[in-house]
C-alpha cells in the first residue's frame, strides 16, 4: 500500500529524462500530493509509478514489492494500483456502465456486476446516466466516472493526475471531497498530482514539491503549506 | 538440371518470411520447360559460330500463356534451323527476354537485347500496346523488328525496318464482320479489352459490320485485371443484340467466360474473336458451343508443324500464336541468309522479297509495302467437347 520511490529517473525518450533521481515515500492510507510548476515532471513521476513512462530507471516499490519492469496492466491487477489520468480519462464511445465494466474487466462476472452497482450507488450522478456515452458527460462527471472506474478493482493505491483540472470551483470542491471520502471509506493510499496546490494540500497528509524534474521538498502537507518559499512560488500567497 | 532446380528451391526457402512456401508442393505449373514430352533435335554439329537475334515476349503477366506459346514456336523454329544448315553456316540463337506484359519493361528488355546482345533483329511482342512502342524504339536504334502477335493497325507506321508476320486488325475485322453477316446476325454487341488491340478490333469490326448493313447495339471496353466484369456484361445484355461478340485475353477471359455463362448470355450466340486467346483457359462448360474466328495455323506445311508441336510438348496448341513466332524466326533466318549478312538494313531490304516465296506454317506470309502481312488465312471454329474445332 505504501509506495517507495528510490532514485527514480524517467522520461519518454531514451536518454532524455524528465524527472531525475527522485526519492519519495508515500505512506499507507495517507493522501500525498505532488505540487510544482508546469513542466516540473509531476505527471511523469506519477506515470512512472503506474508504468506508463517508457523509460524508467531506479526502484519503485509498491507495498513491499518491486514493480519496476512490470507492465502497466499487471501493476493494476497484481499490485492493486489504480490510476486516473488527467486527460482522456474515460472511454468516450463507451457508456458509463461499460466504462465501469472495463474497469472491472478482471473481476468475475458476479463480482463485477456487484461492484458496478456499488459504484452507481456511491455516485448517483452517474447512475442516472448509466446508458449514456461517457463522451457526452460534463468535465466533472467524467472525472467522477474516471475515479469510479479506477475504484472498480478495489485498489489499495490510487494515483490521480490533476483531478481538478478544468473543473469549475464547485465541481473542484466535490472532487476533492470525493478523493478524501474514498480514502476515509476504503482506506486507500492516495498519491496525486495537482496544479491547484492550496486545495489539494488542504486535504492531504503529505506534500512533495518538484522543481525542474528534481525533488525540492517533501513533508507533512501543513508544513509545505506554511513554507514561505513554496507559498510565494506555487501557492499564490502574497 | 535437377541440381539447379533444387538450388532454386533452396534459395526460395532461404528468403525470410517465405512462409507460404509450405504450399509450394502444389506450386507453379508455369515453367514451360518442365512440360516437355520429347526433346528437341540437337543442333547440327558442323555449325560454327553464332548468329544472334532477340525476342521480347510476355512470359509473365496477363498474357503469360501466349508468351509461353510464342516461346515454344521460337524453340521449334530454332531447333529446325539448327538441325539443318543453320544460318550462313552458323548456329541461330534467339535470346528471349520477358516483357512482363508492360510497355516499359518491353522497351527495357529490347534495350538490353540491342545494347548487350548486339542483336540486329528483335521478335516481339504480343500486345499491340507493347509492340508499337517497342518497334518504334527498335526503329530508332536501326534494328529490325518482327511482330508475331499484335494486330493493331498502328503497326503499319512504325517504320521501314519493322514487319509483322500476323495480319492486322483491318484484315481480321473485315473477316469477322463478314462471318457475322453470313451467319445472319442483324445486330451485335461487342466487348473488348481497353487497350490498343481492343480499341482497334472494335473499330474495325464495327465499321465493317455496319458497312454490311448490320447494327452495333453497344461496344464496351473492359479494364484488364478486374475480378468482376458483370457490369460490362450486363450492358451488353441490356442492349439486346442478335449475338455477342467478345474478345478477351486469357487471364480476364476465364472470369469473363464464367460470368457470361452465369449471366445467361450463352442463351444467344457468343462469337469469339481469336478464340484461342481465351477459350483454353476457361471452364470448358462455360464455353461449350462457343463459335468464333481464329487465325488458321494449319496450312499445307502446318500439319507437320502441329504434329511436331504435339510431340514435343505433349499437348495440342495452347494458342494460335506459336505459329506466327515460328514464322517470324524462320522468315528472319531466310532474310539473313538471303542478305548474306546479319546487318539490319540488309535484312530489312531482303525480307519482302523472301516473303513472296516463303511458305509459313501459318500459310503464305506476303509482306506488303508497309512490311505487313497482306494475306492471312482465318478459320471459323466452334467449341465441341472442350476442343476448338474448325466449323
Amino acid at each position: 500500500m505504501s509506495i517507495e520511490l528510490r532514485g527514480v529517473t524517467a522520461g519518454y525518450v531514451k536518454g532524455v529524462s524528465v524527472v531525475r533521481d527522485i526519492d519519495v515515500h508515500v505512506p499507507t492510507k495517507a493522501i500525498t500530493t505532488v505540487i510544482g510548476p508546469n513542466g516540473s515532471g509531476k505527471s511523469t513521476l506519477l506515470r512512472s509509478v503506474v508504468g506508463q513512462t517508457p523509460h524508467t530507471i531506479g526502484s519503485i516499490v509498491v507495498d513491499g514489492t518491486e514493480v519496476a519492469g512490470v507492465s502497466a496492466h499487471r501493476r493494476v491487477i497484481e499490485h492493486k494500483v489504480a490510476f486516473v489520468p488527467q486527460v482522456a480519462n474515460v472511454f468516450g464511445p463507451l457508456t458509463i456502465q461499460e466504462n465501469l465494466e472495463v474497469g472491472g474487466a478482471r473481476l468475475g462476472r458476479a463480482r463485477r456486476r456487484q461492484r458496478v452497482a456499488e459504484m452507481l450507488d456511491t455516485y448517483p450522478d452517474l447512475a442516472a446516466k448509466s446508458k449514456v456515452r461517457a463522451e457526452s458527460l460534463s468535465g466533472g462527471q467524467r472525472q467522477l466516472l474516471a475515479l469510479a472506474r479506477a475504484l472498480m478493482t478495489s485498489p489499495t493505491t490510487l494515483l490521480l493526475d490533476e483531478p481538478s483540472a478544468g473543473l469549475s470551483p464547485a465541481m473542484m470542491d466535490s472532487m476533492f471531497d470525493a478523493v478524501r471520502n474514498t480514502r476515509d471509506l476504503h482506506g486507500v493510499t492516495v498519491f496525486l498530482v495537482e496544479q491547484n496546490a492550496v486545495q489539494s494540500l488542504e486535504i492531504s497528509d503529505f506534500g512533495v514539491v518538484l522543481v525542474a524534474g528534481e525533488l525540492a521538498m517533501q513533508g507533512p502537507a501543513q508544513q509545505i503549506l506554511a513554507d514561505p518559499t513554496v507559498g510565494r512560488l506555487y501557492l499564490g500567497a502574497a | 538440371m535437377h541440381l539447379r532446380r533444387n538450388r532454386t528451391r533452396a534459395l526460395g526457402l532461404a528468403i525470410p518470411l517465405v512462409l507460404a512456401l509450405s504450399m509450394s508442393a502444389c506450386g507453379s505449373d508455369s515453367d514451360g520447360a518442365s512440360t516437355k514430352k520429347s526433346a528437341l533435335p540437337a543442333a547440327n554439329s558442323s555449325l560454327k559460330g553464332e548468329i544472334k537475334i532477340g525476342a521480347v515476349l510476355p512470359l509473365t503477366g496477363t498474357n503469360a500463356t501466349i508468351g509461353k506459346d510464342q516461346q515454344r514456336g521460337i524453340e521449334l523454329a530454332v531447333a529446325k534451323i539448327n538441325e539443318g544448315d543453320g544460318v550462313l553456316g552458323k548456329k541461330l540463337v534467339v535470346d528471349i527476354e520477358d516483357s512482363q506484359g508492360t510497355a516499359d519493361a518491353a522497351i527495357q528488355a529490347a534495350k538490353k537485347l540491342v545494347s548487350v546482345g548486339k542483336v540486329s533483329a528483335v521478335i516481339g511482342e504480343y500486345s499491340s500496346g507493347n509492340s508499337i512502342p517497342m518497334q518504334q524504339y527498335l526503329q530508332g536504334q536501326g534494328v529490325v523488328g518482327v511482330n508475331p502477335g499484335s494486330s493493331s493497325i498502328d503497326l503499319r507506321s512504325t517504320g521501314e525496318l519493322q514487319f509483322s508476320t500476323i495480319g492486322l486488325d483491318d484484315v481480321a475485322g473485315k473477316f469477322t464482320a463478314d462471318a457475322l453477316t453470313e451467319k445472319g446476325y442483324k445486330s451485335i454487341a461487342i466487348l473488348a479489352p481497353n487497350n490498343s488491340y481492343g480499341t482497334g478490333i472494335v473499330d474495325s469490326v464495327s465499321a465493317a459490320f455496319e458497312a454490311n448493313g448490320g447494327k452495333v447495339t453497344t461496344s464496351g471496353l473492359y479494364t484488364e485485371g478486374q475480378s468482376d466484369y458483370r457490369q460490362e456484361l450486363n450492358r451488353l445484355k441490356d442492349s439486346e443484340p442478335d449475338a455477342y461478340v467478345v474478345t478477351t485475353y486469357g487471364k480476364d477471359g476465364t472470369v469473363i467466360n464464367k460470368e457470361i455463362f452465369e449471366l445467361g448470355l450463352t442463351d444467344k450466340p457468343v462469337f469469339d474473336i481469336y478464340m484461342s486467346q481465351d477459350v483454353p483457359d476457361a471452364d470448358p462448360k462455360s464455353v461449350e458451343g462457343r463459335i468464333g474466328m481464329d487465325v488458321n495455323s494449319t496450312s499445307a506445311d502446318g500439319q507437320a508443324y502441329a504434329d511436331l508441336y504435339e510431340q514435343t510438348y505433349g499437348e495440342n496448341f495452347i494458342s494460335s500464336f506459336n505459329g506466327y513466332a515460328y514464322d517470324a524466326v524462320t522468315l528472319l533466318a531466310e532474310g539473313i541468309e538471303s542478305a548474306g549478312s546479319a546487318d539490319s538494313a540488309a535484312i530489312a531490304a531482303a525480307l519482302p522479297e523472301v516473303s513472296k516465296t516463303y511458305a509459313g506454317v501459318t500459310g503464305p506470309v506476303v509482306l506488303d509495302a508497309d512490311g505487313q502481312r497482306s494475306e492471312q488465312p482465318y478459320v471459323i471454329a466452334e467449341v465441341k467437347n472442350g476442343e476448338i474445332v474448325p466449323q
Partner: protein, 296 residues
Amino acid sequence: MTEVLIDTAVRGSIIALLAVGLTLVQGTLQFANIAHMEFATLGGYIAVALTGAGLGLLLSSVLGVVIVAVLAVVFYRLLFRRLLGSGTMIALIGSLALAIIIRAVLQLVFGSRPRYLPTPLERGMDFHGALITPSQIRLICIALALLATLAVVLKFTSLGRAIRAVAANPDLADVSGLNRKRVVDVVWMVSAGLAATSGILLSIDSAVGIELGFNLLLPVFAAAIVGGLGSTLGATIAAYALAFAESFVLQVDWGALAGGAYHLEVGYRPAVGFVLLVVMLAFRPQGLMGRTVRRG
C-alpha cells in the same frame, strides 16, 4: 435496377468484410495497415492450395481463414510491433513492404495466372429480372452473418468491450488492467480472418489473382475512412454505400440530363471510390460516423 442491388450486395459484402477489419486494427493501433488487403489474397490462394491438395472446399476455406489469422498475428508480433516502435510512418511504409512481399511470394509460388476454387459453374437464378448465382447468395449471407456476429460480439461481450476500450483509449485500457497486447492479438486475428473470408468468397465467386487484394485497397480504405476509422458500423454502411455508388453511377444515363444518352465508361468505376475518398478526406476527415478529429 435489381442488377444494381445485387451488385451492391456482392461487392459491398466483399468490401465491408475487409473494411471492418482495417478499421478495427486502425482503431486499436492507430495505424493504417496497407497489407491488410493481402490477407484476402492469401486466404484465396491458401484455399486454392488446400483444395488442390485434395481437401474439400468448406474445410479448405475454414483452414484458410485460420491459417491467415495465425499468420497475421505472427506478422504483428514479428514485424509490426517493432515497426510501430519506430513510429506510425515507418509502420505504414513497412506494411506496404509486407504487401509487396506477400504478392511477390504468391507470384513465386502460384505464378501470375489466376487460380480457381473447384466450384461448379452455375447458371444465375432470375431474381426480379436480374440474375444471381447461388454462390453469390451464399457470399452475401455469409458476409452479413459474420458482420452481424462481429457487431454483437463488439457490443455485448466483454471481449468486444475490451476491444472498444483499447480502440477508444489504449493507455487508459492499460491502466484499467486490460491486457492490451492480447486484445490487439485478437483484433489482428479477427480482422485478418475476416479479410481471408472475403478473399475466399471472392475467389469462389470469380477467381483469385495476385492483384485481388491490391485492387480492393482503395475501395476498402474509402469505406473505412468514410465510415470514420475505428467505427465498424460506419465502415459496414460505407462499404455498401460505396458499392451502391459504384454501380449506380454506371447505370445512370448521364446523357439524359443533356438530352442525349451517355453512360459513364465502366473503366471509371474505381474512380468512384477514389473521388469519395479524397473528397471525404478534404472536407470531413473524421468520416461520417467519426466523432473526433484525429491528431493532425
